[in-house]
Structure formats: C-alpha cells, structure tokens
C-alpha cells in the first residue's frame, strides 16, 4: 500500500466521532493552556497528560496531537499581544507581532500567524506523512551502533550546540543522564542508584521531572523576580481580517517559512527556534519594505510563525520513525507513548499502522479545527491573558500537582516533584537550560541499551562504533556540532548562538 492509502485509512480512524471529539478537546485545551503567559508547548503537553490517562492509546494520542498543535497556536497569540513569549520559538514572532499590535494592527498579526500556522501545519503534516515511510525503510537497516550514534548526535545538538554555554548545556544533559540511571537496569535487572528506596526502582517519571522543572521551577523563578507590575496586554483593535495587501505580503512568507522550518525540525537536531530565526532573516532580506522590519512588518510574523509550526510537525518525523525526541515537547510525547507500552520507531509503523496513521491524520484534522478556533474566537483567548499572576500561578501549581497525584498518589512522588522543582529553579537562576535534562532522562536508557547491544555484538570491541559508515558520519557530525560552537564562543561570536538558545522547548 502507498502512503495515500495509509493516510486515507488514518483519516477513517481519525474521523470516527469519538476521535473527532478527542481531537476537539485536545486543541481547545491546548490553545487555552498554551495562551497562558509563561507556558510553552512542552509544559502544555506535560500539564495535560493526566487528562488522557483513562483513554485508550489511540484516543489518547489523538488528543495529545491536538494539545501539541493547540499549544503552538496559543503561544503565538501570547507573544503577539503580550511580548513575553511563553516559548523560545515564539521570540521572533514577538519581535514584529508585538510592534504590529502596538500600532493597532494586532488583528491582522493574529490572522497572519493563525493562517500561516495552518498552511505550514497542513504542508508539514503532509510532508511528515510522505517522508516517514522512507525514513522507516532507512531505519530498518540501522543497527544498534547506528542508533547509538544518532542518539549521541541528538544529545550534542540538544545540549551544547546552541545556547550561551557549552559547559552549562552539557552539565544539564549529564544531570538528566544521571537521573536516567536510577532504577532497575533493563538488561540485567540490577538496581542502580536507588539506595534501597523501593519508590526509586521504577526510575524517575519523565512527566514528574518535566512538570517539576517547567511548571514549578518557572513559578518559583517568576515569584523570585518580585512584583514588576502587570504585563501590558495589547487590545485587539479593529478587524481581525487581513487586507488584500496583507494577503499579498503574507502568502510567500508562509510558504518560505514552511520550507525552511520543516527540514530543520525533521533533522535529528532539535529546536524550532533555528527555523524561526532563519525565516526572519530571509524575509528581512527579500522584503520590499525592509524599513518596516523592527516596526511591525507582517512578513516578519507570517514567515517565522509558519516556520515554527512546520518544524513542530517536523520534530514528529524523528519521533515517530526513529523514536528519537529532539525537543522537550517531543520527549514528553514519547513519555505519553510509553505509558501505553508503545515505543515509536520503525516497528510501530509495521505493528500498529492504524495508530500511527490515525495520529498523523488527526494532526490534519486538528489543524483545521485550530483555524476555526483561533480566528473567530481569538477574543476569548485574549481574555485568558489578563488573568492576574497570583491566580494564574496558583492554578498552574494546582494542575501541576494534580498530574503527579493522579499518576501516583504518594508522598514520595510529590517530594520528588518539589525537589526537582527546586532544582529547576536553581538551574534557571544560574542559566542552565532545562530541555537537555528532560531529553537526557528519556533518551539515556535507550542510548545505553543500544550501546550495550552494539558492544555485546562486537564482544566488547569499542572500535565497532566507528567502523559502520553511517555511524561514523553521524558521530562526525556530532563532533562538529560540539567543537564548532566551542570555537565560535571562544572567539566571542557566542551571541548568535545564545539567541538560538533551545532553552524551553
């Protein structure tokens, strides 16, 4: 069967009334939570995971997909109207979008962001559907050493390639890898680093860690900044509809943004941010109105926002086909799969095609729903932005602890939540990125498994890791991704990398 047949089958799965309902709930909740200031898609997905606990895997993942896309849409609303992006990949949107909103053109800015996200989401999801089978075929020739090399590459790009310090990125990654060792060793059944505490034998829950670091760490950090007065929410004045010139200036930017964002997201190198910056730079160079950039150019919203959503869909390529999460959000999605004992990867396409293709098809449907939810109803979401901080953060902590209690109502689990929350706060104070910890925790055991398999096959010969051409190339790229930024920073060119920081997602 070809991709189209699979996709049609997937659409049949996704179009079942219950699944449509799940998708609708997912996109609504995702948008509502994603709009809240300070909450990026990673936290949106982590906070809403408990809602899906009681569903069957198919329904739960469909709702999840809706939450993911909804969170992305919600984030752009926040950055246009509030100028405090909840996610690092929306920073560029805030540059021009907030200027437009201040100039009374908030409506068209929101519209071009929403329609651009729709166009990008549509093309990129179709791209995912058509690229995935090829990667799956490629992945079937991958052995343990190739997987290990791929994971090393993901580790390097997530932790040290971007951001303002190689040292702090790597430290975060190794904190995550250390936490990943806790619990029973998968291959020999021996308890490691659990110090006789039975609660630790199962290891650390990814969702507990993610919620603690993102929700509690962020709340503590914001609280510690003291009262700086309420953030200014720009009112949406005038029509949300775009004029003919707006359309003419936007559509090319949407397409360019999509074609920049999707490949970057699809590479096992993580980060929607890079695509948004590249798209912004491209639009600025190609624009007929370069003088408007910095004062609210509509291309500067349309392009990056499309790139953002396209690379969000792109990250699903390595996640679904290789089981490789390249962002904190993808790491939490992987945890969502694992709670049903599903391991994304080439096998899942063979053993459970309905689930995978139903998921991909429901992304298409979610995308349509989001367009409808976001254009006419934008006024409703804007109201969410005006929630005063005490209630907002009190509510965030309510739901953050709810998820942990719902998964495991024990004092010990809440204690871990508190401990990791404090760790997340301290890491924020000292400028350590959070995403590498989460990716390290979930990818660490998988990488260890592949490494030990590879070394068992070679009977302990380490050189085997470098002798396969694919693995050697991947490790070579990983080495470059580690060394080049180090040299750039040493030469004082670190600012560019710092701007590309993959701090949140």
């Amino acid at each position: 069967m070809g991709t189209l047949d699979f996709l049609l089958q997937g659409l049949l799965v996704a179009a079942q009334p219950m699944n449509l309902l799940y998708a609708l709930i997912g996109v609504t909740l995702g948008t509502a939570v994603g709009v809240l200031p300070g909450i990026g898609p990673a936290l949106t997905v982590a906070l809403l995971l408990p809602v899906t606990y009681q569903l069957d895997p198919g329904g739960s993942l469909i709702m999840f997909a809706g939450i993911y896309y909804g969170g992305m849409y919600g984030g752009s609303t926040t950055s246009i109207l509030l100028n405090t992006p909840g996610e690092s990949s929306s920073i560029v949107t805030a540059l021009e979008g907030n200027k437009m909103a201040r100039a009374g053109r908030g409506g068209p800015a929101l519209a071009t962001a929403a329609i651009g996200s729709f166009v990008a989401g549509l093309i990129a999801t179709l791209g995912l559907a058509f690229v995935a089978p090829y990667i799956v075929k490629l992945a079937l020739v991958f052995g343990p050493r190739e997987y290990f090399a791929l994971m090393v590459l993901a580790f390097v790009t997530v932790s040290s390639a971007f951001g303002d310090s190689t040292l702090r990125g790597l430290t975060s990654l190794f904190v995550g890898l250390t936490l990943a060792c806790i619990g029973i060793d998968q291959l020999t059944g021996q308890a490691r680093l659990s110090f006789g505490v039975p609660d630790l034998l199962d290891g650390i829950e990814v969702t507990t860690l993610a919620v603690a670091m993102f929700a509690i760490g962020e709340t503590l950090y914001i609280a510690a900044q003291g009262d700086k007065g309420p953030d200014k929410v720009e009112a949406v004045r005038g029509s949300v509809w775009m004029s003919a010139t707006d359309w003419a200036r936007s559509w090319k930017a949407w397409l360019r943004g999509t074609f920049i964002g999707f490949p970057i997201g699809a590479m096992p190198a993580g980060g929607a941010e890079i695509g948004t910056f590249l798209s912004y730079a491209t639009e600025k160079r190609l624009s007929k109105h370069p003088e408007e950039f910095g004062n609210g150019a509509i291309e500067g919203v349309a392009g990056p926002e499309a790139a953002n959503n396209a690379s969000a869909a792109g990250t699903l390529v390595p996640l679904l086909t290789l089981g490789l999460p390249t962002s904190a959000t993808a790491a939490i999605m992987l945890a969502g799969f694992q709670q049903y004992g599903l391991q994304p990867g080439p096998l899942l396409f063979a053993t459970n095609p309905q689930l995978v293709w139903g998921l991909i098809a429901s992304l298409l449907i979610a995308n349509f729903m989001l367009l409808v939810l976001n254009l006419p109803l934008v006024g409703l979401w804007v109201k969410l932005l005006t929630i005063p901080k005490p209630w907002l953060y009190a509510g965030i902590l309510l739901f953050a602890t709810l998820g942990t209690i719902g998964a495991n109502p024990s004092v010990f689990e809440l204690g871990m939540l508190l401990a990791f929350g404090l760790l997340g706060y301290i890491m924020r104070v000292f400028g350590y990125p959070i995403a590498p910890v989460v990716v390290g925790l979930i990818l660490g055991p998988l990488a260890e498994q592949q490494l030990r398999r590879a070394l068992s096959i070679s009977q302990g010969d380490v050189t085997v890791l470098f002798t396969s051409p694919i693995a050697a190339v991947l490790l070579g790229i990983a080495a470059l991704a580690f060394i080049v930024p180090l040299i750039l920073r040493a030469r004082g060119r670190g600012e560019v990398l710092a701007q590309l920081a993959a701090s949140e997602d």
């Binding site: 606990y53 009681q54 040292l167 790597l170 009190a394 309510l398 709810l402 209690i405 400028g431």
Partner: protein
Amino acid sequence: MSKGDSPSVETRRPDRAALIIAVVLAAIAGLIFWDVSRLTGLAGYSQVGPTTVPYAIACCLIVLAIWTAIEGFRGDFAEREPQQLGPVAWIVGGLAAQMLLLNAVGFSIATGILFAMTARGFGKRQLWLTIPLGIVASFLVWTIFAKVLQLSLPAGPLERLLF
C-alpha cells in the same frame, strides 16, 4: 566583563556559587562510583555491563566539575539577577504542606492550601479569603478528574461529605 579596560586581575573574584556547583557535581560523581562499585559486573559476552555507562557518566561529571571550577576561579561564570527568597519560601512551603497533608485531609483541602500559599507568594495576602477560594477550586477540579475522568485522587472528609 564590563571592566575590561582595567588590566588588573583582582577585579575577577572567584565565583563561590560556581565552586559550590562544581563540588556538588563531583559529589554526584562520587555517589555514582560508590553505588555502582557494589554491583557485580555481570559483563556477559563483553566487558560492558550495568556498570559501564554509570562509570562513563561519572567520569564526564568529574570533567564538568573541573570545568565549572575553572570558570568559577576565572570569574566568567554566568551573571545572575538578584532573587527574592520570600515568595520562593511561601510557594515551597505550600508544596510541602500539600505533600504532608494530602493523605490526611484529602485532595481539595491540601491543594487549596497550596493554592493560597502560591497566591501569597505572588502578593495576595488575604489568606482568609484565598484558602476557601482554593479549596472550592480544588474541589471542582477533584470532581471533574476523580468523578468524570476516573483519576484516583485521594479523598478526604470534604470529598466524602459530598459524594
């Protein structure tokens, strides 16, 4: 550093926080060495067993600790903004209270206290108002998640009274 034009090195004090972080990283590495040394190295076909990867991680942590210490001594560790610890203490206290009270008084009351103490951390001082508000909000959430979505959330006197 902003005082780059003065050639003296004395302006660069060793960063104590960075040194503490370095010590903590080294301590974690030591902990891994100590714990893993107990494991019998069931190496199987190869020399790799359950101990291999933890040892590798511990070695990397020691390298990172040394690196952090060097940056700390040279004083080019991250700059930080001043932190207000009062609000942090309120929120941490709220989380601790919820953790300890959860099984005794149930989800709604324990989480209501967390809610009020978090709001206090953000400047809402009227605890007599925010605690009842938090309990009501938590109870609504409990009803939705425990009754509609079948999540097992601990019930206390309040939940048993009404259901």
